[in-house]
């Protein structure tokens, strides 16, 4: 397997652009990545495109917008893990020697309201019992009941990530929060989950271009940002667990740490799947960043702030920055790349050497990726 370098990254702003065709949103992100890489669209021999909102051939539509080049285009629908799935495919294409350069993109345009429209009606949908807001509200309730986290600690995740989003020019929202009360006072969605415990639905795209060391040397200077290791997992059986997001994360992380040789204690910056506040607390533990009983107190003490020991979701995360489903995983890799290059501006973490991206996607089977970039 060859070493794989991040040649370029780019993303659109995240927000709501219902009037913009999806192909244009995607093309904008790819053009930004191509510019960052110093190459042209004609130089890309293969494209992996993630999209989840019920359409088809979005990758080919993006290609058509950029100019027909006749290349193979693979479309992936792995919900929130789609972007990371395509990044892994692009990485594998280069690492195995199939291509010297490969591009991955994630693009989505969301309907307003809860994301039930992702899936066609089922009996559970008719009965209203498969909605994600209910599932995660019940996760929050169990976390409180089991004394793992308090509602305040969960609200702190939202405060941190919304305030981080305030200094990210690409964020969907810039909502400055002064305390957990801002979260508690927001509209009740599904008890005890208020609006600011939830990430929004969003439009946007993010793209990443990988290449070999030789190609990287022709276009940019060392130090190169390397794809150090990545993994994609789905659920194993856990009795009583209706839709596991935790064990699936633990296993993906374990594989990524083993492949990369980088452990959780080595990570300088982490972008993880904070679709709801409870998820960030759980995944900090699942990724091995601290123990279950520590995460609430550490969150209270600012351990995961930009200035903390292990900055988590400095970009604003899904909560603050927004969440175009398939774009998010690659947007996380964009943030890690900017951080490792020292290009993150006000969000810059001090001298990072490695970073981790993570998302869980879907339902009842839960696609999950963990990828590690290093310098």
């Amino acid at each position: 397997m060859r070493d794989v370098i991040v040649l370029g990254v780019g993303m659109t702003n995240f927000g709501r652009f219902p009037e913009r065709p999806v192909a244009k949103i995607g093309a904008e992100a790819m053009l930004a990545a191509l510019k960052d890489a110093g190459i042209a669209w004609k130089d890309v021999p293969v494209l992996y495109c993630a999209h989840a909102m019920g359409r088809t051939v979005d990758g080919e539509l993006v290609e058509a917008e950029l100019g027909h080049t006749g290349i193979p285009v693979f479309n992936v629908s792995n919900a929130c893990a789609g972007g990371g799935t395509c990044a892994l495919l692009a990485y594998q294409a280069v690492a195995t020697g199939l291509y010297d350069l490969a591009a991955a993109i994630g693009v989505d345009q969301a309907p307003a309201g809860p994301l039930g429209g992702l899936f066609p009606p089922t009996a559970e949908g008719i009965l209203g019992i498969d909605t994600w807001v209910a599932k995660y509200a019940m996760k929050m309730q169990r976390a409180v009941y089991e004394r793992r986290y308090t509602l305040d600690q969960m609200a702190m995740v939202s405060v941190k990530n919304h305030n981080n989003a305030c200094i990210n020019l690409r964020s969907q929202y810039r909502i400055r929060m002064s305390s957990v009360e801002d979260v508690h006072k927001s509209r009740m969605i599904s008890d005890p989950m208020t609006l600011y415990h939830c990430c929004p639905t969003s439009d946007g795209a993010a793209a990443i271009i990988f290449c070999t060391v030789e190609v990287a040397r022709r276009h940019s200077k060392a130090p190169f940002i390397k794809f150090a290791g990545g993994a994609l997992t789905s659920q194993i059986f856990i009795r009583g667990e209706l839709a596991d997001t935790r064990d699936v994360t633990v296993r993906a992380a374990r594989q990524a740490y083993e492949i990369s040789g980088i452990g959780p204690e080595d990570l300088d910056v982490v972008e993880l799947h904070d679709n709801f506040t409870v998820s960030e607390l759980e995944h900090i533990v699942d990724l091995g960043l601290c123990r279950e009983e520590e995460v609430g107190p550490l969150m209270e003490r600012g351990e995961f702030d930009i200035t903390g020991k292990t900055p988590v979701n400095v970009s604003g995360g899904l909560l603050g920055k927004g969440h175009p489903t398939s774009a998010t995983g690659i947007a996380q890799l964009c943030e890690l790349t900017w951080q490792l290059r020292g290009q993150a501006g006000e969000r810059q973490v001090h001298n990072p050497k490695s970073g981790l991206a993570h998302c869980c996607g879907g339902d009842e089977g839960m696609a999950t990726f963990v990828h590690i970039l290093s310098k």
Partner: protein, 151 residues
Amino acid sequence: MTPGPTSVGERFFTLPSTPSGEPHLIGSKCSSCGEVFFPSRLCCRRCSSNDMKEIPLSGKGTLYSFTTVRVRPPHFIGEVPYLVGVVELPEGERIRTLLSHCDQSCLEIGMEMELSIEVVGKTNKPFGKIEVGTEVLGWTFRPLWRQECET
């Protein structure tokens, strides 16, 4: 002519055949490893065996979690707000379900619940063989001890 209340799906539950009978959820038991699932399925989630037997499930369980949903999911046919819960059955399976005859002020994790087949709402678009305007029966759980939750 609209048909009477129709089950949301053929394979989820049986209705009592006598006035004193009870409804039952229909589950699957794996002949290979013994694991039990609801809804019924082709293969075992645990060991992938495709030797599954349909079995009636207990009509009682304990409340594992619950929430009052205050936004309308895209396909939902009932009234908002409404209660959703997870009930743990003696067979080990936890199932997602509507909760009926209660509101969250009287619910507690660990409470005993019993199966109650209820009309959930009316379809406003066709669903499978169910026509528009049909009342749909779905599975719900209600507190076993009625006097604790008089709604």
